[in-house]
């Protein structure tokens, strides 16, 4: 699916202060001059593969088919971990094979993964520490220019997957859930699927969130008093714990990865 201005998204833990992101973009434009380069985020916590996997899962589905997603959170750079191309639902993903694409595999079971071995597409020389510039960026640019994934290497059946916590039932009317992410506003994004947990809108419940006991579900932020945390169906498809014009993370002391308890009364 070749377009006039193919879209390439970038998601890394490189930050925005150093030259790393600019270097990747420069090489991409040398290969694919009309690429539309869109940053998803470069502020992933360094080496945090699971955080990148979650952020990617929320962003890639918003882009049109034909988009190439370049994902470089790569603590294993220079080791034997494989660089891969994954095709899923008309999108392409270029990333290290370290599990950062796990949520793509889960969302699109009939994805196709290939190991990138065609070194003729790499920058020269390939450094030991910056495969984002030397391998992933040029491959993404050639893909966006219209080359078929099969040009870059052979099919593989076993890309690495990370385990992501699922909510677990801990009693007759109690569950343990996990905080997937804390966002800029201090919203706590749980792994409780909004659709499956719609009942909280009509039942009495208690959610133990750090130092707070949350007992109310809101339809929007504005209807709640500032200062009192509540549960809301978030935009990511999960229940979130939020505060009107304040940070639920600060109010509750809870962080990414922490457990929260839900009890139906």
């Amino acid at each position: 699916m070749k377009t006039e201005c193919p879209v390439i998204t970038l998601l890394t833990d490189f930050g925005l202060a150093d030259h790393y992101v600019g270097a990747m973009k420069g090489f991409i434009l040398g290969i694919c001059p009309n690429a539309q380069l869109i940053d998803i985020s470069h502020e992933i916590t360094p080496y945090a593969i699971a955080e990148a996997a979650y952020t990617l899962s929320q962003a890639w589905t918003c882009f049109p088919p034909g988009t190439v997603h370049l994902v470089v959170v790569d603590p294993g750079v220079g080791t034997a971990r494989r660089p891969i191309i994954v095709g899923a639902a008309g999108h392409h993903f270029v990333a290290p094979d370290n599990g950062v694409l796990t949520m793509v595999y889960d969302a699109v079971p009939d994805h196709e993964a290939r190991e990138i071995t065609a070194s003729r597409f790499f920058g020269r020389p390939v450094s030991r520490t910056f495969h984002g510039r030397d391998i992933f960026a040029p491959v993404a640019a050639h893909l966006a220019s219209g080359l078929a994934p099969s040009e870059f290497g052979a099919w593989i059946g076993d890309p690495l997957r990370l385990g992501f916590a699922k909510p677990t039932r801990t009693g007759l009317r109690t569950w343990a859930a996990t905080i997937l992410k804390v966002d800029r506003f201090g919203n706590l994004i749980t792994n409780l699927d909004s659709e499956g947990w719609q009942r909280l809108a009509n039942e009495r419940f208690e959610m133990k969130v750090g130092t707070c006991l949350v007992t109310r579900m809101a339809s929007n932020y504005g209807e709640m008093e500032p200062g009192d945390p509540f549960v809301i169906m978030g935009s990511a498809g999960f229940l979130e714990v939020s505060l009107n014009q304040g940070s639920a993370a600060k109010a509750t002391g809870v962080r990414s990865g922490d457990t929260v308890e839900v009890r139906l009364l």
Copy 2:
């Protein structure tokens, strides 16, 4: 005014770490593939409508007519606050009706505001917490693609305005002014209009700025000794209190919203 690569600017309080900005851009490119997406800022203090209004006022006039400005600082998301399109001086603005466009209304008295009601242009489903993605971004993209504002909803005459502090005369030769903004360099941008206050270049004056008494006006930063705050005609059209290669904010202890006193001697 349809162009080959229509420009859409983005101004939000979403930060750059989460997927929120990327999600909006993805939907825009699905609707308007050749859009030029330009970030004004995503580092507005969360919920700070007045700060966003000031930042927008300094940026939008730099862009060519035909630009669509997408402004999402939206603490009332999901409540009854209206989404609006405003046309002014050949530019379009897409924003919540919470006063964030006040300085556009002041600059262009014959602007035209419409409430966005044509839900056929919205993403589906519309979430309760992320209208940037579900309403504002797709509307901005359709506008940039060439749709007329009248397609999105009816004219309204009463968009919300914020009050912005004006300097007030407090004595025969004294005035109280307000700090509109502290920038990255620690420059204190006052609400004293440079043109009206040119006299300070030729008269003796004292400006009481936090812990400091400022008595000199500079033509440029470099002519002043490092360490001594001075007044300068800033690039925003207002007097600023600055320091050569240092932060006037740190030196004076003054913040956005604080009052400073001017006395002509």
Copy 3:
């Protein structure tokens, strides 16, 4: 070298919170509507010319010939320091003449520098504090649109150069080197040229780096134990002191500009 979508890169110390970068981009797009605007970094430490020079040196060579690089780290704005255009290896650089292009001059001895004097290309009025918007951005946009550098001013032979520290020999088998840069990951980039120092891979050595004595050279991050700093050939062409999944800067207490000692055993 005029292309359909000419590339303009931006490197400043303006940060991303204020309107400054957006204002420059707006004026550029008014002059050169199809420009591809690529951020190298806006997080250069305020006024840090040497830091910008290093960051530029690592980024510009990644871009295709014909790229215009707009570099605005300009503590002398409004003083007599000259605005210049430099042509080198098919690239153009637009910057204040304060040494920020020193590493370009070193890399491309047959560069050509011109003073920008053609004020017909400037924004009006030219402010005293924001030549990025009023001089450098419009000149970069006109260059990217295809105007010849000679349109902007006459050749100059003496652009300002900064001195950058070179490693110095301090004994029969000892050298003093300097840390050029600490990156987001805490890697310490030395000024020891990787090619000239390949011998460290085969010889016993000690590098005194702050509170640590580093004695090993790694081929990649992953082969080393977390917690122990090591030397590695970095992607910038210099030796770096790094830590597997950790910050060498934190582990050693060393900062940009500090000296490290190398001893061959």
